[in-house]
């Protein structure tokens, strides 16, 4: 790794001819770190906020479309499936994020396990997930403000978005995390108010008796993208590793606590919402929690007023989390040379990556106007699924090639969990192919071709070997060929 700068070393890149060795000297490594240095000021609480804050918008929007697809029990099954594979995904990333504590997150892990092409794809798909998520939350927030009849809602919503971007751009990660912490805590408080408000309205008949007419795997697969809103973006935590103090302790703890929080939120929201009203009423609603409260607490005007106003905090927290996610990933890909280098420029004093925040932000703003929320959610979800699959396959490959780092991860039951997750993720992708690929194959093939061509024509030639993800990968994958220069 680059931190070990006692000696210069030579390594070869797997994508470049073996004869073409690249020399990384101390000076190059130090210059790179000097230019790309990010402050290490995040702790467990901060990374928990990054993850949980990102999923805060999910409970307020759209997950109920999953109930419409699969019914209450079908949604519960979908929730269990998603919780299970996120659990396994976090088990793997808790190890990977300690071994490779780089901003790239999924891109960094896949780079170690599957090489630069798939790493590039992992990075791009992560960008899709987070930019799509940002656009979905923005669109939902706009609709929400219109729904609650706030005058000049579009202007208001744009102002908040710009304010957030400026906030992120102007202040350092610590200030940003504090602001995010406040928003996330408020959003959690709003969820607690919702649970208290519906606690006496839950009926088992709503949860169990009202099975949909066509309860089956097809419906559950259709429900998955919407149900995933409870977890979508939680992997944001892995991308903060480079800015974390003591990653070997903070990363696993942050990931597990974040996952546990998401599980508690998702299952309790399912129980109290679906249990309080007839699921048929939830099918076409855009804001399920507000709708449910209006149904069961119609007399309590104070509660409804507070909930309506404070729900917007959930959107803002989610928005901030998604902005964090895409900016980190875009920055890492740009730093690695896959995307144009201006995107990884760091502000000299504040150490923030303003272009990586603003450019994708503008794209997601445009998408929020052009694409429907449902489509944005579906794109974000399947991008996330592909990323998770790539990461888990990478984990298996890294574990097999360097078993000394994975002693406790080589037990039989853990392997069984991994392979079961690969099967589940593959099935979900097959479901995607069945549902969407044949209908939209021209668009999907074109997008795949363009993105891959970009890599082969431009990206591969500009990979910067001094980027930590690249250097670590080369060091690992060609370990036996490294010649240390004294």
């Amino acid at each position: 790794m680059l931190q070990d700068k006692e000696s210069s070393f030579v390594f070869s890149n797997d994508m470049i001819s073996d004869a073409q060795d690249i020399l990384i000297t101390n000076r190059i490594a130090e210059d790179f770190l000097q230019n790309q240095y990010l402050k290490k000021n995040l702790d467990i609480k901060s990374i928990w906020v990054l993850g949980v804050g990102t999923i805060m918008a999910g409970p307020f929007i759209g997950w109920n479309w999953g109930v419409g697809e699969a019914g209450p029990l079908g949604m519960l099954v979908a929730l269990i499936i998603i919780s299970f594979y996120y659990f396994v995904f976090f088990l793997t990333t808790s190890k990977l994020s300690v071994l490779f504590p780089y901003m790239g997150g999924p891109y960094a892990y896949v780079r170690q396990g599957l090489g630069s092409f798939w790493a590039y794809w992992a990075g791009v798909l992560t960008c899709f997930e987070f930019i799509g998520g940002t656009a979905a939350v923005l669109a939902a927030f706009r609709n929400y403000l219109a729904f609650v009849n706030i005058g000049y809602s579009t202007l208001f919503y744009l102002s908040i978005f710009i304010l957030l971007l400026v906030n992120l751009q102007l202040f350092n990660a610590r200030v940003m995390t504090f602001v995010h912490y406040c928003f996330t805590s408020c959003a959690l408080g709003v969820l607690v108010i919702f649970l208290l408000g519906t606690s006496e309205a839950v009926q088992s008949t709503n949860l169990l008796a009202a099975a949909p007419p066509s309860f089956g795997w097809q419906e559950i697969l259709n429900a998955l993208p919407f149900v995933s809103l409870f977890f979508l973006g939680l992997e944001n935590i892995t991308m903060a590793a480079e800015e974390v103090r003591l990653p070997e302790r903070s990363m696993p703890n942050g990931l597990y606590i974040g996952f546990f929080t998401a599980v508690v939120i998702s299952f309790s929201i399912w129980y109290f919402t679906v249990g309080s009203v007839n699921w048929q009423l939830l099918k076409a609603i855009e804001f399920p929690l507000l709708f449910t409260l209006e149904q069961v607490q119609s007399q309590d005007k104070v509660l409804l007023s507070i909930f309506t106003v404070m729900s917007s905090v959930g959107f803002i927290a989610g928005l901030q989390g998604f902005i964090n996610g895409y900016s980190r990933q875009v920055y890492a890909l740009s730093r690695g040379g896959y995307l144009p280098s201006f995107l990884s420029k760091i502000h000299p004093t504040r150490k923030t990556y303003h272009f990586a925040i603003l450019v994708p932000g503008a794209i997601s703003l445009g998408l929020s106007y052009m694409v429907s929320i449902k489509l944005l959610i579906i794109v974000a979800f399947y991008s996330a699924i592909l990323v998770h699959l790539l990461v888990i396959i990478s984990f298996i490959r890294i574990r097999n090639s360097e078993p000394e780092f994975f002693y406790s991860y080589r037990r039989v039951y853990f392997s069984a969990l991994l392979y079961l997750t690969v099967i589940i993720l593959t099935s979900i992708i097959l479901g995607f192919v069945y549902n969407y690929f044949f209908v939209n194959w021209k668009i999907i093939i074109s997008a795949y071709t363009i993105i891959s061509l970009y890599y082969f024509i431009w990206g591969v030639k500009n990979i910067r070997q001094e980027a930590p993800e690249e250097a670590a990968a080369a060091l690992k994958m060609r370990r036996n060929r490294i010649r240390f220069l004294k």
Binding site: G189, V192, I193, L196, Q297, D300, K301, V302, L303, I306
Partner: protein, 451 residues
Amino acid sequence: MEAKKQYGSQIEKDICDLNRLGYAQELYRTIGGFSNFSITFSVISILSGLLFLYGDGQQLTGNRNIWTWGVVCFFQIILALALGEIASIYPLAGGVYKWTERLSNNRSMGHFCGYFSIIGWIACTAGIEFGMGIFLTLYLGLDYNNPWVILGITGIIILLHSLINIYGIRIVAWFNDFSVKVHIIGVVILVSLLLIFGQRNSVSSAFFIRDKFTGGIVAQFAQPLLMSAWTLMAFDAAASVSEESINPSKVVPWGMFYAVVVSAFLGVILLISLNFAMPDLKQPLDTKMPFSLYIIQQTTGPTIYKFIMGFILMAQFAAGLSSQTVLIRILYSFSRDNGLPFSKLWRRVSSRYDTPVYSVFLAGTVTFLLILLSHNLYFIASISTMGMYLSYVITLGVAILGHQKINENYGSFYLGKFGASIRLISFLWTLFIVGFIIFLSFGKMERFTWL
């Protein structure tokens, strides 16, 4: 690294200071300035004391009760300054009784003061825990009229506090820091809600509403004064963890002072907002519910009320924990000086947890016994106020007589030429409070029946 070194050398200096005062460092010294402030702030706990006794003041003086808070705050700040100066000279676990002993050079005088202090702290801890037991029983919807249910809930709370205190001071410190957040956020949310949704009265009526007094003005103000005095006391809590604090000579007095000032400010805005939101005065007095909770419920509705209650309960839990922590430290300190029967047992510090485990058992048992025997929150509150203020009276009296010693040995917190007058005002104030409690409150015990 530099900070670590600085910390290390400060701890060494604190240990030397303690050795100079005649004691070895046995407890784990980890508490910083903020945690020290947090302990005192948690014990004062305006979300516990003010909310519980608010109705009692309202019954007699109406919205005028807010003025007693102002008066008490003013004098308590002066009292905090006076005690802070002494704490800065003698940063020892045990607080007031150690100060009295050192200032008077008389062990018996110290012990005499210490017994009142211990009685005060036992009752203070019992009051908070029993109050929380009542609130929690209400919150959980259990049988509120069955005292055994309340006792059972209170017993569980005491057990949890004891376990946390055994397990270690770091968890207590974490809870105290958490308590500060809960109190500040809780008060901000509560005040905002009351001001937004509960503006039932005009600005002037929030301070003066009430047609006429039905008795003597002094007698009428005695009860609201108890509300304020009971809530805003026990700020010598910071002193009790002196031997676990880093740089106690500085952080203890400032912790006391800031805790009183912040609590006073939050208390004012809380009382004003409650007075603003108060519905028809006759209506709530007919209910069995504590008056403040009734106002909150009427203003915010049942769901938001439950949410706010969550904050109040968390604040009370942290307050009870802090209070028990202080009580344990005083018991430990007292037994270290052979001031209690079986002192050898109570002063034993667990090598595994670095906490005086047997003192924890003693504190838990005694508080539970007091609750079991008295069954009356207002009685416990009065005992607590009387015990604590009497110990302050003794300490301040000794300090006035031994002012030479303070002027010669002053620590980081020194009042200079104002010291003498501040001590005198504080002494008269504490004497006045004790007189009020003894002659007015105990004389009217029939009004305090809760169960």
